[in-house]
């Protein structure tokens, strides 16, 4: 329990991942499933960025004189997750375009109605 309360960012990110996963499994509506996928994405970003934080140090931008190695936080996780945010919005746009085409083909966006229509 002590470890979980000290690393509260990582604990919160795991709980958010679990809630997004549950939204993906529970609901029949396609729009709610896409929202759940987005919540899972941002939870993973939060976990990764929390690993690169050093308490008491500055953001990785050099203003004026260089403070040396001991003055800044770890810049590598922030640079890696910047690409991830853009990939997440691309995946969301692709999933929403597929939803629009499914509606034009079947007439509804509830998943069990579509499966029933296909098995007839």
């Amino acid at each position: 329990m002590e470890g979980l309360m000290n690393n509260y960012y990582e604990t919160g990110s795991i709980i958010l991942f679990g809630i997004g996963f549950a939204i993906l499994l529970l609901h029949n509506n396609l729009i709610k499933k896409i929202i759940g996928m987005n919540i899972m994405d941002t939870a993973v970003f939060l976990f990764f960025i929390a690993k690169g934080y050093v308490s008491g140090k500055d953001a990785p931008i050099i203003i004026g004189a260089h403070k040396g190695v001991q003055g800044y936080i770890n810049p590598v996780p922030s640079a890696l997750m910047l690409t991830g945010i853009v990939v997440a919005v691309s995946t969301t746009a692709f999933a929403l375009a597929l939803t629009v085409r499914i509606y034009e083909g079947y007439g509804s966006i509830e998943l069990d109605e579509i499966i029933k229509m296909r098995s007839d």
Binding site: M1, G3, L4, N6, N7, Y8, Y9, E10, T11, I14, I15, F17, G18, F21, A22, L25, L26, A50, K51, G52, Y53, V54, S55, A59, P60, I61, I62, I63, H66, G68, V69, Q70, Y72, N74, P75, V76, P77, S78, A79, L82, T83, I85, V86, V87, S90, T91, A93, F94, L96, A97, L98, V100, R101
Partner: protein, 240 residues
């Protein structure tokens, strides 16, 4: 039955992951295993090697520039896919396409002042990407939003004269190919220590510094802005 099973799977997953989190090192210590000599090298040597004051921009556009190239190609692929899925034929007489139409004098007069201010802010964030937080992605999104606002207020016919489809596709494909050519030239000549002409590093702190950083930021911003504009026009009526 299905609901109970899915909630059970989720709670099992959370408990297994929380068992792993409870053994992680303490949050925010200086001598964590994640802060190893790789991050020390990046913090010390970025200004000398690349000329950028923003360490994150120096990493994603110089040390790991092919990462950014592949991510721009992911954006390009997404916009091509949405084009394939949602683009409709030419306007057929008698069929009502669902395009948003707004006729309002207040919006037209206010947008004449507002849209240039938004674009200047976006251009500032792109150009100062290596000196302050920001970079190509955020600035490109802001410029793309100003194009969306222009299209909502003035309608489809008027915007097609200013932002035609064929020109935008040419700029998009040309930008991503030029990014590959520029960064490939820089890697090949720099890695083999051939003394071919390269843009100079300049003094750190001014805009025209950093070698290839400024052109690459502008190219990434252009790709993002055109992709965002294509997403809007295809979802809102299917015609460009």
């Amino acid at each position: 039955m299905k609901k109970i099973l899915s909630i059970g799977i989720t709670i099992t997953l959370i408990i297994i992951l929380l068992l792993g989190v409870s053994e992680l090192p303490k949050f925010g210590q200086y001598n964590n295993p994640a802060n190893n000599e790789v991050s020390h090298y990046y913090i010390e040597k970025t200004t000398k090697d690349t000329g950028a004051m923003n360490i994150v921009t120096g990493i994603i556009l110089d040390y790991r520039a092919f990462d950014t190239f592949v991510e721009s190609s992911v954006l390009f692929t997404a916009s091509i896919i949405v084009l394939l899925l949602l683009k409709k034929e030419k306007h057929i007489q008698g069929i009502d396409n669902e395009v948003t139409i707004i006729e309002s004098t207040i919006l037209k007069q206010v947008s004449k002042v507002l849209i240039p201010c938004i674009q200047i802010f976006g251009i500032y964030i792109i150009f100062y990407g290596h000196l302050s937080p920001g970079g190509g992605f955020a600035g490109g999104t802001i410029i793309g939003t100003s194009f969306i606002l222009y299209r909502i207020i003035y309608g489809k016919k008027f915007t097609d004269k200013t932002l035609p489809y064929s020109k935008l596709i040419t700029y998009l494909c040309g930008a991503i190919m030029l990014y590959g050519v520029l960064k490939g030239y820089s890697f090949i000549t720099g890695g083999n220590h051939l003394n071919l002409p390269q843009p100079s590093l300049g003094t750190p702190g001014s805009i025209l510094s950093g070698g290839f950083l400024l052109p690459l930021n502008i190219l990434v911003g252009l790709i993002v802005a055109i992709t965002i504009y294509f997403f809007f026009t295809l979802f809102d009526g299917g015609e460009i």
